[in-house]
């Protein structure tokens, strides 16, 4: 099975070749027949494709544009013709792009002309890696992250933010108030939030503000009462229960083993409740100009929710799902009911479900996880950190989270089945493990398997050549230089910290790389991560690796063309070219020419999925 078939591009290839005049009608029919399409269906299909755009006046008169966008900057994201004057869209696809005169030739009687008024139209952004299932949760939670990811910079900020949340969700007394992204390091006071800060304003609503590590939370007194924690509750081994000074009363913060049972026993949203949040969750992306969304670590039960949402027609953005490799056995039974086996035994029935959108949901590849996160010190490095491990361990260099033998065996099996491998690896030892595992399969760059190394943060310079050799493509997390840059400098020292997400070196080697938010680890802000990849400046203003800064064009490609290519969608997405999907965004300024600091002020005015407006900024 070759990749084209896996990804369902075979028929689209024929369509593209035919509509762009590269092959004749007869050849197109022959190739469609070879792909299993009957003669009648083939003819109908070709008729639908027969839309000769732009230059052909005959085509224009037969198939006029639905909409033409003009009088602004058109950023095509095509290398040798970066900008154009206008774009025509018909039936959700790009009909023409180029000079105003050529594009206007596609105008028909009913064509709508949109005046861009000097704004910038470009391909919408692709979420190269993030967690869509988190979006379904956080739309019901209060954002208590620090500025700029959230609104918090001091203790006094919490109460008004939570009051606004109560108002927005119309919560009643007794309802839980859940917040996410709490972290003492964001507070000017430098102390933990406590019950005395929260209780006066919230005597009746239990509050749980989940720590940015997801390993703890701050609770108020109503919440402690609800979970049964009081002054007689002992602090469990491996946990923390902060106590009010001079007393044994739980004071707010609970961590690790003191938090885990609380989290586990917290009521979970039903499948229906999750489905009901799909619209709000997709708006997080459309507001940011993103129309292809990633669910980048999908458990089997989450995939059931997504498939149900897709079948009910609730998705209007494209969702790319990467099932977790350890979930293969459970997932497999959804496709092959009698399946018995381990992750390395993925059955063919399940393999067939990959590679093509069904009702806007696509399974693209299998997600492997080798290590944890550098800021949590759970990544896996070859050299020790300069600071102690998460439990105070000396000479700490982290550990793999799965035995290497298990990862390598499953990687080989998944690769042999023709599926794309996505491998979470943050530390250089974890990256070595991914390199070893894929090298053992015999894969070469020429095989075009596009193994994605997700995060690929703490690389060593010598790991770039194996990436080239094996056809790896990194999805970097460049905004770490901003959000956690100061921590990385302290933990790794300048030499290693400066090579975090080395985008310039990777591009220079000819690697194709994307850049991601890892939502909801950081907010869905394409301009923020573009900026970060260009300035690499920490919150304290320290530059991490000035040599690894990239220019506007590279930074934009990492959010568009390269991200599309990584998921085998370069023929339909990532640039404004004839025949591609009209997935587009209008920005109020041109990010290609903006100074880095000006990027953060660029606003999304409107977002289109296949020509249809899915977000429009309030005037």
């Amino acid at each position: 099975m070759n990749d084209d078939e896996i990804n369902g591009d075979g028929i689209n290839d024929v369509a593209a070749d035919f509509s762009q005049g590269r092959i004749s009608r007869r050849d197109a029919l022959k190739r469609l027949a070879a792909l299993g399409m009957g003669a009648a269906a083939g003819s109908a299909f070709i008729a639908a494709c027969d839309r000769k755009p732009g230059a052909s006046s005959e085509g224009a008169s037969q198939n006029p544009a639905d909409t033409i966008y003009r009088n602004g900057t058109v950023l095509t994201m095509v290398d040798d013709r970066r900008q154009a004057e206008a774009v025509a869209v018909a039936a959700g696809k790009i009909l023409a792009v180029g000079s105003e005169a050529d594009v206007m030739a596609t105008k028909g009687a009913n064509t709508v002309i949109v005046d861009l008024a000097g704004h910038t139209l470009m391909p919408s952004f692709i979420d190269a890696h993030g967690h869509f299932m988190n979006a379904l949760q956080v739309v019901k939670w209060a954002n208590v992250q620090g500025v700029p990811a959230g609104p918090i910079s001091s203790i006094a900020d919490f109460v008004p933010v939570l009051q606004e949340h109560v108002r927005k969700l119309a919560l009643k007394p007794g309802d839980w108030i859940i917040g996410y992204g709490y972290d003492r390091s964001n507070l000017v006071e430098g102390r933990e939030l406590n019950i005395d800060d929260l209780d006066p304003a919230f005597p009746d609503n239990p509050i749980m503000l989940i720590h940015s590590s997801n390993h703890g939370a701050v609770l108020n007194t109503a919440a402690f009462k609800a979970v049964g924690y009081n002054e007689n509750t002992p602090t469990p081994a491996g946990g923390i229960i902060a106590r009010k000074p001079g007393t044994n009363i739980p004071y707010g913060l609970i961590m690790e083993t003191a938090f885990l049972p609380i989290l586990t026993n917290a009521p979970k949203p039903s499948e229906r409740e999750l489905l009901d949040t799909l619209d709000e969750a997709q708006k997080i992306y459309t507001r940011a100009g993103v129309t292809t969304v990633q669910e980048g670590a999908t458990a089997a039960k989450d995939l059931r929710v997504l498939r149900k949402g897709a079948d009910e027609g609730l998705l209007y953005l494209d969702v790319v799902s990467l099932p977790l490799f350890l979930e293969i056995p459970e997932l497999a039974t959804d496709f092959a009911p009698d399946f018995v086996g381990g992750p390395a035994d993925i059955p063919d029935e399940a393999v067939k479900a990959f590679g093509a959108y069904r009702n806007r949901l696509k399974l693209q590849g299998i997600k492997f996880i080798v290590d944890g996160s550098p800021q949590g010190k759970t990544a896996f490095w070859t050299q020790p950190l300069l600071t102690p491990g998460p439990d105070g361990q000396p000479d700490w260099r982290g550990q793999p989270v799965i035995p290497p033998e298990t990862i390598h065996k499953t990687m080989a099996a998944v690769h042999a089945k023709g599926l794309q491998v996505f491998c979470h690896a943050n530390g250089d030892a974890a990256i070595d493990l991914a390199i070893d595992g894929m090298r053992a399969t015999g894969v070469k760059a020429a095989d075009d398997r596009r193994t994605v190394i997700v995060h690929s943060q703490c690389m060593r310079p010598d790991q770039l050549d194996p990436y080239v050799e094996l056809g790896f493509t990194p999805s970097f997390f460049a905004a770490h230089t901003f959000y956690w840059g100061d921590e990385h400098l302290a933990n790794l020292g300048p030499q290693r910290a400066d090579f975090i997400s080395p985008m310039a070196s990777a591009f220079a080697k000819g690697l194709r790389c994307s850049n991601h938010t890892d939502f909801s680890v950081t907010p869905m802000e394409p301009m923020r991560i573009m900026w970060a990849s260009m300035v690499r400046t920490s919150k304290k203003g320290v530059v991490l690796g000035a040599d690894e800064r990239i220019d506007n064009w590279q930074a934009l490609k990492a959010l568009t063309t390269e991200a599309a290519w990584q998921i085998f969608e370069e023929k339909t997405k990532g640039s404004l070219e004839v025949g591609k999907l009209a997935d587009m965004v209008i920005l109020d300024a041109n990010p290609l020419t903006a100074a880095p600091e000006a990027l953060l002020d660029i606003a999304v005015l409107e977002t289109f999925k296949e020509g249809k407006s899915v977000y429009r900024k309030e005037p």
Binding site: P236, A237, G238, G239, T257, A258, L260, P261, L263, T264, N265, P329, E330, T333, G342, T382, R397, Q399, P400, V401, I402, P403, P404, E405, T406, A429, D432, L433
Partner: protein, 303 residues
């Protein structure tokens, strides 16, 4: 009473699953809930299987084997509501997990940790301990162990085994270590709690290839003296268990559990008038580790 929890750890391939297979087949009358990462290598005699669904296999001997597919904390939260159905919980830690951390998670869900047993492969553990990828992991697992089981001893030469045991003494001093093959470990050593029937008349008995020593007294023990006694026990003592009366709290009976170097002492139940027993204690160790005269003297000194 809360269900006692034992964690079985060790790197991939050490033989954790064969240990668990033996345990499920030789449960010594205990209803054990065994939580495993997957059913892949679990090999339960078909005649023993009472019922099975996706994540759970119920055995005719009262044991249940359950996968951790839904996550350890979810499974533990469910078990909280089924405490009456079991006598003991055993968790198989994943091959790279720190089994002590797994034990702490279990304890946080209300299951007191009574032992962390780490299984090592006699053939490969020393090489693994310096492996680029898993060396640190294997070393942390050894340090987390209360009791070490050196498995596959039949696959190495006697001299090599002796050298391995010496290395373990150097690496993790004071950690009692047993050797075995084919993953066979006496259930009584691994997790059996004290039962009423186990009040031996003989002060010194045999327990498979182990020696045991039983002690009974009508005089309550002082907590500080008991602690001193437990601290003084030699590393060859792999197991101690008992129901105790403590002078510090005469209202309750206490359950003492010692697995390897870990001791837990928990209130068992309120002392009742009909209670036929006073303090009784069984100590089990490798041959040569039991010095009944000395032990009696130590405990006698407590009174």
């Amino acid at each position: 009473m809360s269900l006692p929890l034992t964690v079985i750890g060790g790197y991939l391939g050490a033989g954790k699953t064969t240990v668990l297979n033996h345990l499920l087949g030789n449960n010594d009358g205990l209803r054990i809930a065994v939580l495993v990462n997957d059913f892949g290598d679990i090999n339960i005699d078909a005649e023993l299987i009472e019922s099975a669904d996706g994540e759970t296999i119920a055995l005719t001997n009262g044991c249940t084997c359950c996968t951790l597919a839904d996550g350890l904390s979810t499974v533990l939260a469910e078990l909280r509501g089924r405490s009456e159905d079991f006598d003991h919980i055993v968790i198989e830690a994943s091959g790279v997990a720190d089994p002590l951390k797994i034990g702490h998670i279990g304890a946080a869900f209300g299951f007191p940790l009574v032992g962390v047993t780490v299984v090592v492969d006699a053939e490969t553990v020393r090489a693994q301990s310096t492996d680029t990828y898993v060396g640190d992991t294997v070393m942390w697992q050894l340090r987390s162990a209360d009791l070490l089981i050196v498995n596959k001893r039949d696959l190495v030469a006697p001299a090599e085994l002796q050298s391995l045991l010496a290395w373990l003494v150097d690496t993790v001093p004071d950690t009692p270590t047993l050797t075995t093959q084919g993953g066979w470990v006496d259930t009584a050593i691994l997790l059996a709690p004290l039962r009423a029937s186990e009040t031996h008349a003989d002060p010194v008995g045999s327990h498979g290839s182990f020696e045991s020593w039983s002690f009974r007294t009508a005089t309550p023990l002082r907590r500080s003296d008991l602690d001193a006694f437990l601290t003084a026990l030699p590393p060859g003592v792999v197991r101690a268990k008992g129901i105790l009366r403590l002078a510090d709290d005469m209202a309750n009976n206490y359950l003492l559990q010692r697995v390897g170097r870990r001791t837990s002492l928990l209130p068992l139940n309120a002392v009742s008038a009909e209670d036929p027993f006073d303090t009784r204690l069984v100590v089990i160790g490798v041959p040569g580790s039991i010095d009944s005269e000395l032990f009696a003297q130590w405990l006698g000194g407590c009174m």
